[in-house]
């Protein structure tokens, strides 16, 4: 096991720079999720850690070794791919033991380690099957088995759950977390699904357009987003932004005043859907759509030309077209500069 130090990492394709000097410190045994919309460079960064993409600037160190110029096989990492990437003509056992075989490990050693990994992943009875005879979840487990068998310093996951159906995805999510708690191997996990990132990771790196927007624990990102992008990206349904006016330490939205920082200018008031409370002196909002999910009810509303989402745990009999009064919870307000998106 080892820490991973990423310093001033740059990557460009031709003249186009896609990663603009990233710094991430991943501690020994930590589970870090890289999350962001597609095209933000998260997969590229992972592939650079793996050694599948050349590095144009900066350094990546695994343990105390700078690995910039090492081929993937010498970096002591294991990677799980979105498409599983199992060798189709090899059995499950051969798939899992292949890296060891290439590294010229003894047959007994390979057998022992494959068996152990198969036990961890409940694959023992499938060891002789070919990948095409396995279900999606089983293939995913074989891909993880292939990584475990090598006992690497770092696990790299590239959107490993995207190809699974919703139910299996949640199940595998739990399995990955369990696995990490058991093995305590440093893990970097790329996903575009913020729920996956929130549930799995010790720390999350939110990326956009090749820069890091914020690094923090899941709840830290949720409670104290550094800017509008992080605020709206983390959390589902995402945070509401109400445009307002800042002056004299007060933010004016509609006809209401909220306490804010000093300064002057246009701002956005960020309110999480669960922090909108029914109150007679709140903003009048028109109900558009009501989506009951059982445990909670999502209500989509319209307020001064802006879309607003609210979530209630209690059951209310709202109907479309009705006007209800909602008040933001004053303890959970986020104020962002309307131009830069930075938190004020």
């Amino acid at each position: 096991m080892a820490n991973v130090k990423i310093q001033e990492i740059r990557k460009s394709y031709g003249d186009v720079e896609v990663l603009h000097g990233l710094n991430i410190d991943i501690e020994d045994g930590e589970f870090v999720a890289l999350v962001g919309p597609s095209g933000c460079g998260k997969s590229t960064l992972l592939r650079m850690i793996a050694g599948l993409e050349p590095i144009n600037g900066g350094t990546i160190a695994i343990g105390d070794r700078v690995v910039n110029n090492l081929p993937p096989s010498e970096r002591d990492i294991a990677m799980v791919f979105q498409t599983y990437a199992l060798y189709p003509h090899k059995s499950v056992a051969q798939n899992m033991g292949f890296a060891l075989k290439v590294a010229k490990a003894s047959k007994e050693d390979i057998d022992r380690r494959v068996k152990k990994a198969a036990e961890i992943l409940n694959l023992t009875e499938y060891l002789d099957r070919k990948p095409r005879h396995l279900s999606g979840g089983q293939r995913q487990r074989v891909a993880m088995g292939r990584a475990i068998v090598r006992d690497p310093q770092v696990f790299l996951f590239d959107e490993p759950l995207s190809n699974l159906d919703a139910k299996l995805r949640i199940q595998m999510r739990t399995e990955i977390k369990e696995l990490h708690q058991r093995l305590k191997t440093t893990t970097v996990f790329v996903t575009h699904d913020q729920i996956e990132a929130m549930t799995l990771a010790d720390r999350i790196v939110v990326m956009q357009d090749g820069i890091i927007e914020q690094i923090g624990t899941p709840l830290d990102l949720y409670d104290n987003p550094a800017n509008e992008f992080v605020a709206t990206f983390i959390g589902a349904p995402s945070m509401n932004l109400l445009s307002g006016e800042l002056s004299g330490g007060k933010v004016k939205v509609g006809d209401q005043l909220f306490s804010g920082p000093s300064g002057l200018g246009k701002v956005n008031l960020g309110v999480r859907p669960e922090h909108l409370i029914l109150s007679d002196d709140g903003f009048p909002m028109e109900v558009k759509v009501v989506e009951p999910t059982g445990s909670e009810t999502m209500v989509f509303l319209r307020f001064e030309g802006q879309d607003v989402t609210a979530v209630f745990r209690e059951r209310h009999a709202f109907v479309s077209g009705q006007t209800i009064h909602l008040m933001p919870d004053k303890d959970h307000l986020h104020i962002f500069d309307a131009e830069t998106g930075a938190r004020l």
Partner: protein, 279 residues
């Protein structure tokens, strides 16, 4: 096609068309085969009749086999075809892998340059090729034919195979790299097995024109010891007299090896080995 749309009328129509086509395609082969077992007189009297007790004759085969060189011709054809195919597949696949897998300057240009050969018939260059072979002393060797056929087969091989290689999952190749395979092992152990159906297609496309070619053997290797089967059979076709028994027998025998090779490759054609590799 979904099961629901498979109605009996369509099925019958489709099969009727396919069977008609098969009959048309097999008819000449059939005529050659039956006539090769008939006496000369009967070939002309009733070309379409099956050999019977009266007309049955192995005279053609006897002539061909007595002509002692026939096995040598056969062997020459075999060597030229198999070695050319091997070289076309090996170098074609390697070039295709490089074009499909690596980003380098001029990648597209190189691909176009290699594909250019598809559009230009190699026979246009016959004089230059002959000149080159004379100067390198390769005239009347099997190598002359092998080299020409390899050159002739490469453009289409590279073109078809690079398309297929692009479809091989990057993740799979990267998994191999992480597992410590070098690029050659990735090519031979991971990618080649996955494009086997495409390799078989290329092999079949190249095999038949090489086996049947008369042009280059006639020009580059007409010597007795390097004659190919097609060229060798020509001795039976004269300006004034043609020994039809012998010609038809030689042709019948010539069909066999290609058919065997075809059967070997066509098994690969249908094998869907990629299923289960990636989702």
């Amino acid at each position: 096609m979904s099961k629901a749309r498979r109605n009996p009328v369509n099925m019958v129509a489709a099969h009727a068309i396919l069977i008609t086509y098969t009959l048309i395609a097999l008819f000449p082969v059939f005529v050659i085969l039956i006539n090769s077992f008939k006496s000369r007189k009967m070939i002309f009297r009733e070309p379409l009749a099956l050999p019977n007790a009266d007309s049955f004759s192995l005279i053609g085969y006897q002539t061909v086999l007595k002509q002692g060189d026939f096995f040598l011709y056969f062997q020459n054809s075999m060597i030229v075809t198999v070695v050319s195919l091997f070289l076309v597949l090996l170098f074609g696949a390697m070039a295709a892998f490089a074009l499909a897998e690596y980003r380098f300057k001029g990648n597209t240009l190189m691909g176009l340059y290699l594909a250019l050969g598809i559009m230009i018939p190699i026979r246009i260059g016959t004089v230059a090729i002959l000149d080159m072979m004379v100067q390198t002393g390769l005239v009347n060797t099997l190598w002359a034919l092998i080299l020409v056929y390899t050159a002739q087969g490469l453009p289409l091989a590279v073109f078809i195979l690079s398309e297929f290689m692009r479809q091989v999952s990057d993740d799979l190749k990267n998994a191999g790299r992480i597992d410590g395979l070098n690029e050659y092992t990735i090519f031979f152990r991971l990618v080649l097995p996955l494009v086997r159906p495409a390799m078989a297609t290329v092999a079949v496309f190249n095999m038949i024109p090489i086996w049947n070619d008369l042009w280059f053997p006639l020009i580059l290797a007409p010597a007795e010891e390097t004659k190919t089967l097609t060229l060798g059979s020509q001795v039976f076709i004269g300006q004034f007299v043609t020994d039809w028994n012998a010609v038809l027998s030689a042709l019948s025998l010539a069909i066999l090896p290609v058919m065997i090779l075809y059967v070997i490759f066509s098994r690969q054609l249908i094998r869907g080995i990629t299923s289960g590799a990636v989702k």
